[in-house]
């Protein structure tokens, strides 16, 4: 699964959680800085991602995540470890 595909799927997952705060979400959109996801919303997103990609995302790895692209890279890493 390439980075572009993961980003596309992630945008689909984050869009309803972001409740229309940003018109066009892309790889560089900030999850907390622009989409204003609080800690509960971030956890909702993590659960949705885990179900979609059949992975477990360690919460300690979330500290470094700033953008949609960062999260997509983490997902790719988790998918790779799972493979």
């Amino acid at each position: 699964m390439n980075h572009h595909d993961v980003v596309a799927q992630l945008i689909e997952l984050v869009t309803p959680i972001a409740e229309g705060r940003v018109e066009l979400i892309d790889e560089n959109t900030g999850l907390t800085s622009e989409l204003a996801l609080d800690s509960l919303k971030v956890m909702d997103l993590v659960v949705a991602v885990e179900d979609q990609f059949d992975i477990s995302v360690p919460i300690n790895a979330l500290a470094e995540i700033r953008t949609v692209g960062d999260f997509a890279s983490l997902i790719q890493k988790c998918v790779g470890e799972n493979a």
């Binding site: 509960l40 956890m43 993590v46 659960v47 477990s56 995302v57 360690p58 919460i59 300690n60 790895a61």
Partner: protein, 394 residues
């Protein structure tokens, strides 16, 4: 001097509350009258948010034991056990706890928070994996952070979701640590421990159960959900606190694991904290003796919990869990919960206001903790105060 900018968001919330003239997080009990009564703003108030499940704080035997220790061993230990030495009574309390649970050994910590922090951070470090229930207490999350282990959340009280995540770990699963609570403090719901034990055994992992809100409350002997569900022998680590049913402060872990003693050397919250004061140890030892034979207190607690639970349910409130010592009333939104909480206080009833993110999901709660020391009349008065609220039921 300029205010710290990192606290800006918190300050905004505090100011919002000040505008409403309600401060649920700054309640001052001017005088404590009994385990379940106090004076707040000059008003006689029933305390229904104390976690004082057995009413042990005013137990005459515990007070006498504390007084004697205070007079013979002084006010404090002034240092940590590793650096400054243990008092014999620290070790005696550990022996008491190990015997109470029928376990090989015990370690005592200076608070319940530190018991989770100290155990989890010592047992799982970088490269290890801890799997925790999504609704875990902050002390469990913080223990994982302090240790630096990979931390994976599973869905609340969902053994199948845990098993799925264990499977994903492959060979690593056998070295993983699973952490759950016996009773969850916000809603008062119990963990399906037997099923969690089955998952643990399937993968060969270790299980730590925090019984903070169930020790003294559940099980014939008061050992908690591990006793109630018959899995005590299958749980590697049972963690608990002295600050609820034992009416004091401190925490512990009991275990059959052979090298539990080594944790003392690897646990920063154990090594770098002043040890429990002699009076605290003496009162806790006495409270544990009382708790062991407190069948009548547990019976009264159960009756009070049933009375409050059924009373509030009959009023049409939505409650968080089946009958337990924690009775949580689900309230619509945060502002509604805030006003409701203030209404109760002005009607002489103190409960805990719990709002996200401290609560599961987006729900706000008015959390009551029932005590064996409540009289049926006080339970009825709590229900009457809830009934006098004219706002919406959740």
């Amino acid at each position: 001097m300029n205010a710290n900018p990192r606290l800006e968001a918190v300050r905004a919330v505090q100011q919002e509350l000040a505008t409403l003239g309600i401060d649920p997080f700054g309640v001052q009990i001017d005088r404590i009258l009994s385990p379940v009564e106090g004076l707040i703003d000059g008003r006689h108030t029933i305390l229904a948010g104390t976690n004082n499940y057995l009413g042990m704080t005013f137990n005459p035997d515990c007070i006498a034991a504390a007084r004697n220790a205070l007079e013979t061993a002084g006010t404090g230990t002034t240092g940590s056990r590793m650096a400054n030495g243990s008092y014999a009574s620290h070790r005696e309390l550990e022996h008491d706890l190990a015997r109470f649970y029928g376990k090989r050994d015990a370690i005592v910590f200076s608070t319940g928070y530190q018991a989770n922090l100290g155990m989890i951070s010592a047992l799982a470090g970088p490269g290890d994996t801890v799997l925790i229930d999504a609704d875990s207490h902050a002390s469990i999350y913080d223990g994982c952070r302090l240790g630096g282990a990979n931390t994976i959340r599973f869905r609340h009280n969902d053994p199948a979701d845990l098993a799925k995540r264990m499977r994903r770990l492959g060979a690593e699963a056998a070295n993983a640590l699973i952490v759950v609570e016996g009773v969850y403090s916000m809603l008062g719901d119990r963990a399906p421990l037997s099923e969690f034990v089955r998952v643990k055994q399937e993968f060969g992992a270790a299980l730590l159960v925090d019984e903070a809100h169930s020790m003294g409350v559940l099980g014939d002997k008061g050992q908690g959900v591990v006793e109630e569900t018959g899995v005590l022998a299958d749980v590697e680590y049972v963690v608990g606190t002295f600050s609820k049913s034992l009416g004091n402060t401190g925490g512990f872990c009991v275990s059959d694991v052979e090298d539990l003693d080594v944790v003392r050397y690897a646990s920063r919250p154990y090594v770098f904290t002043a040890s429990l004061a002699p009076a605290t140890i003496a009162a806790t030892r006495q409270a544990l003796r009382t708790l062991e034979s407190a069948v009548d207190l547990r019976q009264r607690l159960r009756e009070n919990a049933e009375r409050l639970h059924s009373g509030l349910a009959a009023l049409g409130f939505t409650l968080g869990a089946p009958v337990n010592a924690v009775v949580a009333v689900l309230v619509g939104d945060k502002l509604e919960a805030l006003r409701f909480w203030d209404h109760l206080l002005k009607h002489g009833v103190y409960v805990n206001l719990m709002v996200p993110p401290a609560t599961p999901g987006d729900v706000s709660l008015l959390r009551c903790s029932v005590s064996a020391a409540h009289t049926p009349a006080q339970i009825d008065a709590i229900c009457a105060a809830f009934a006098s609220w004219n706002g919406a039921r959740a």
